[in-house]
Symmetry: C2
Subunit: 160 residues, 2 copies
């Protein structure tokens, strides 16, 4: 299986879904921890120019989360609930409070590739193609790429 070291972002042709795939030099356990430990998550999520502060975090099935990302003094607030948290899969909801009625249902899979490597697959489902395409046009790819590059460095440094 070839390595996917850049984030592959795909828009489904028939469903209002964005899918992303990326490999990490980490075990599934490490990658899961980087997504569920709030102190670790806050260090890597989002673009380089943003600093994230966790407001609420309960990464368990039936829990919820809320964080604020700040760039140049401007706050961007996000919240959601954890539908399911298990070692190989997280299912959660996601709202950017600048678009308070917009809700995505996100699924993350941690696929063990062996040799201490894991493939992260994510799926973000919304209720219209317009919303999905607006997300794709928003520049979210840059934030995702920069975030995963930070996570890569944390994994190499043994910070996770």
């Amino acid at each position: 299986m070839s390595k996917i070291t850049e984030t592959v972002v795909e828009a489904d042709q028939k469903l209002p879904i964005i899918r992303m795939t990326r490999d990490f030099a980490a075990t599934p356990e490490h990658l899961f921890r980087a997504h569920t430990d709030p102190a670790l998550f806050a260090r890597w999520v989002g673009p380089d120019a943003m600093v994230t502060r966790i407001e609420h975090w309960d990464a368990r099935t039936g829990g919820s989360w809320q964080y604020v990302s700040v760039r140049d003094g401007v706050e961007y607030r996000f919240h959601g609930c954890f539908h399911e948290v298990r070692p190989d899969r997280i299912v959660q909801t996601f709202t950017f409070e600048g678009d308070p009625d917009g809700v995505a249902l996100e699924t993350l899979w941690f696929d063990d590739l062996g040799d201490g490597r894991t493939r992260l697959r994510t799926q973000s489902l919304v209720d219209s193609f317009e919303s999905r395409d607006a997300w794709l046009r928003s520049g979210m790819e840059t934030g995702v790429d920069e975030g995963y590059a930070k996570l890569d460095r944390m994994l190499i440094d043994g910070a996770v």
Copy 2:
């Protein structure tokens, strides 16, 4: 606006969504309470032949829920989280534990029609047309209709 006293169930042509619409002789406040108070909810949800027991219930933004419905001694378990709970709209996730990897993102709107009547609109979004169509074929409409008929009677009796 004409009255919708039977549940109208629609499958979206282009999205994996089931939509339902039904009017109730109740204010939005009463209908909201019937969906958020666990003792009331357990009395009307599901088909006539089932008895529902609430296992966990925290109907707040960021809360979660879990219930068991029993028919002829067989238990059907369901769980999800409340993404957002506000007087005019509830957004929540939904899983039937017989299909543990299947997750629906549900939105309920309580539209005030005036004169003590409210239109309930619901939308259930899943990530494939196969899952959506399997739900439609499962006989869920009967359960929904019987449940709303019970709710109608509770509203008439002043039980809500």
